[in-house]
Amino acid sequence: MKIIACVKRVPTTEAQVKIGADGASIDGAGLESMLSFYDDLAIEEAVRSREKHGGEVTVLTLGPSDCSKELREALAKGADKATILLDPSWAARDARSTAKALAAKIQELGADVVFCGRVATDRDQASVGTLLSSYLGFACVTDVVKLELTPTGGTAQRETEAGIETVSFPVPVVITCDKGLNEPRFAGLKGIMAAKKKTIDEVAPLAVENAVVVQKIELPAARKAGRIVGEGAGAVPALMEALRNEAKVL
C-alpha cells in the first residue's frame, strides 16, 4: 500500500498570540511550534496501516526547511520517507492553495491512502483533507475515530452530533484523523537511529495564488471584568439574581 501522511507545523497550543506589524498576520517571532495535534494521529495511523498491509509511508508537509525537525521525528516513529514542499510563505497560503500544491505532489508520488489531521490547530479550517479528495478524485472520510482498512476499501466510524456514524469507502481514500483513533507512539532509540539514515526531500511546491485576502487579524475583544458573587452554596441566590436580571439569560 502506498500511504501518505500530510502534516503541518503550527504554533503550540500554549502560545500567546501576537499580531504582526501589518495587522494582517500572526507575528511568528518567538512563537514555539509543534506538529498539529491531529497530525500525530495521522502519522500513527499511516505507520500502523503499513505494518498491517505492507508498502511505504511518506510524510508530506508544505512548510519551511526547518520542519525537518518534525519530519525526522515522524521518520523515527516508522515513516519511510519525508518530503518538504519548501515555501517560505507557507503560513500565508490559503487552504485551496495549500491543498493544490499537496495534491500535485500526491499525484506524482501515487497513493492508495492519504492520512490528514481532522484540523490544523492554526487556521482551524478542517478543509485540506476534503479539498484533496476533490482534486484527486479520491473517496474521503473525515473525523475518523475507528478505521477498518483493506487494500480495496473499508469502513470507518466518525463522530457527529447525531452519534457515531459508520461509513463505507473504496480505496484510494483520504482519511482525516480525530482524537480516539489511536494513541500515537513515542519514537524509540532504534527508530531515532534508523531515522538518521532516511532521506528528507526538499522540492518546490506548485505556485498557486491565494483566493482569500486577509484584511486584518485582531485579538478578540477582552471580556469585561466579571465578579465573584460569593462563596459556597450561600452564593447561589446572588448568582441566580445576576443571571436573571443582569445578564438576562434565564
Binding site: 498570540v17 485551496r96 483566493a211 487579524i217 460569593g230 445576576a242
Partner: protein
C-alpha cells in the same frame, strides 16, 4: 436575482436550527437564498424553510443513504445550475465535511466556521476565529463562488413570507456511504449547538462526579454537558464533549465551568460564550479571569443548590 445556495440539514423534515441560522445569514445579505435538502422527508421542510427566508427549495431525491461526496456533487451542480454566488452550510459535522468537498469541485477557497458574514459591492467579507479563538481574522473571498460554513448560535433566524418554489433533482450518488448511525441516547443536545453548556473538569474527582453536572444540565432543559480535556483523557467523558483547542469551540448564551481551572487551551474553546459562570474552590483559578460571575467553593455543595434554584425558576416560567 443573484442567489446563495444554503445546504439545510433536517431531522425527519424538521430543519436543524443551525441550518435556519445559516439561511438567516444568507437572507440578511439581500441576495436570494436557495435551500438544498436531501434525504427521506426532505420535501417536508418546505413550509419551515419558506418561513425562514428561502425563496427556492431544491429537493435532492434518491439519496436514501447519505453520501458525503454524492451530496457535495449535488450541491456543486445546483450552485452551477442556479448561478449562485455562494454556498453556505452550518459549521456542524456534516457542514464541515461538505465544505472542502464542494469548494474543491468549484475551485473555491473554503472559509470554515465563520462568525460574521456580509456582502457589499459584489464582495463577501467574513470573520473567522483562528487559533481556536485566540485571534479573529477578517477576510474577503476572491473565489468565483464563495464557499463557507457559519458557526452555530451566531446568526439570527430570518422570517420570510410566501412559499418557496420547489424543484427536485436526482442525486448523482457517491463513493462514500453512511451505512449506520449509533444515535446518542435520548437525542442529547450537542455542545456546539446548545444554548446552555455546563462543563465539568478534574475538580469533579471521578466519572461519577459528573452526576451533579448532568443534573444541572437537565434542570435547564436546553443544556448540553461539556468537559475539559483532563477528564476526557481520563476516560470519564466522551471526546465529543471536550471543549477547547483540541475539542469543540462553543459560543452558547450561558457557559458554566465547574471544577475547571481554565487552562489556555480550554479558554480558547469557550471564551466567546455570551455569559460565563465559574464554580471553583480555588479563588486564584484562571477561569475566574474570563468569568462574568464566579462562586468560590466546593462544587459538590454548590451545584445541588444551583440545580434546585434553576428548577424553581423553570417551574415558575
Amino acid at each position: 436575482m443573484t442567489s446563495i445556495l444554503v445546504f439545510v440539514e433536517h431531522v425527519r423534515g424538521t430543519p436543524r436550527r443551525a441550518s435556519l441560522e445559516t439561511l438567516g445569514a444568507a437572507t440578511a445579505t439581500g441576495l436570494a437564498p436557495i435551500a438544498l435538502v436531501t434525504g427521506p422527508d426532505a420535501a417536508n421542510t418546505a413550509a419551515a424553510l419558506s418561513a425562514a427566508g428561502a425563496k427556492k427549495l431544491v429537493v435532492v431525491t434518491g439519496a436514501d443513504k447519505y453520501s458525503p461526496d454524492g451530496t457535495a456533487a449535488d450541491i456543486a451542480a445546483a450552485v452551477t445550475a442556479h448561478g449562485a454566488k455562494a454556498f453556505l452550510a452550518a459549521a456542524t459535522s456534516t457542514g464541515k465535511d461538505l465544505l472542502g468537498r464542494v469548494a474543491g469541485l468549484l475551485d473555491s477557497a473554503p472559509l470554515a466556521d465563520c462568525t460574521a458574514f456580509s456582502f457589499a459591492g459584489g464582495t463577501f467579507t467574513l470573520q473567522r476565529p483562528i487559533l481556536a479563538g485566540k485571534a479573529i481574522a477578517t477576510v474577503q473571498s476572491k473565489s468565483a463562488v464563495l464557499c463557507a460554513t457559519l458557526r452555530p448560535n451566531t446568526f439570527a433566524v430570518a422570517s420570510g413570507s410566501g412559499a418557496a418554489e420547489v424543484s427536485t433533482v436526482a442525486t448523482k450518488g457517491g463513493k462514500v456511504v453512511v451505512i449506520g448511525v449509533a444515535a446518542k441516547g435520548d437525542a442529547k443536545l450537542d455542545v456546539k449547538e446548545a444554548p446552555v453548556v455546563v462543563s465539568g473538569g478534574r475538580g469533579l474527582r471521578e466519572a461519577a462526579g459528573f452526576k451533579i453536572v448532568e443534573d444541572l444540565a437537565a434542570a435547564f432543559g436546553n443544556a448540553a454537558v461539556g468537559a475539559s480535556r483532563a477528564v476526557v483523557d481520563s476516560g470519564w467523558r466522551p471526546h465529543g464533549e471536550q471543549v477547547g483547542q483540541t475539542g469543540k469551540t462553543v459560543a452558547p448564551q450561558l457557559y458554566i465551568a465547574v471544577g475547571i481551572s481554565g487552562a489556555i487551551q480550554h479558554l480558547a474553546g469557550m471564551r466567546t460564550s455570551k455569559v460565563i459562570v465559574a464554580i471553583n474552590k480555588d479563588a486564584a483559578a484562571p477561569i475566574f479571569k474570563v468569568a462574568d460571575y464566579g462562586i468560590v467553593g466546593d462544587a459538590f455543595e454548590i451545584l445541588p443548590a444551583l440545580t434546585a434554584a434553576v428548577k424553581a425558576v423553570k417551574a415558575s416560567n
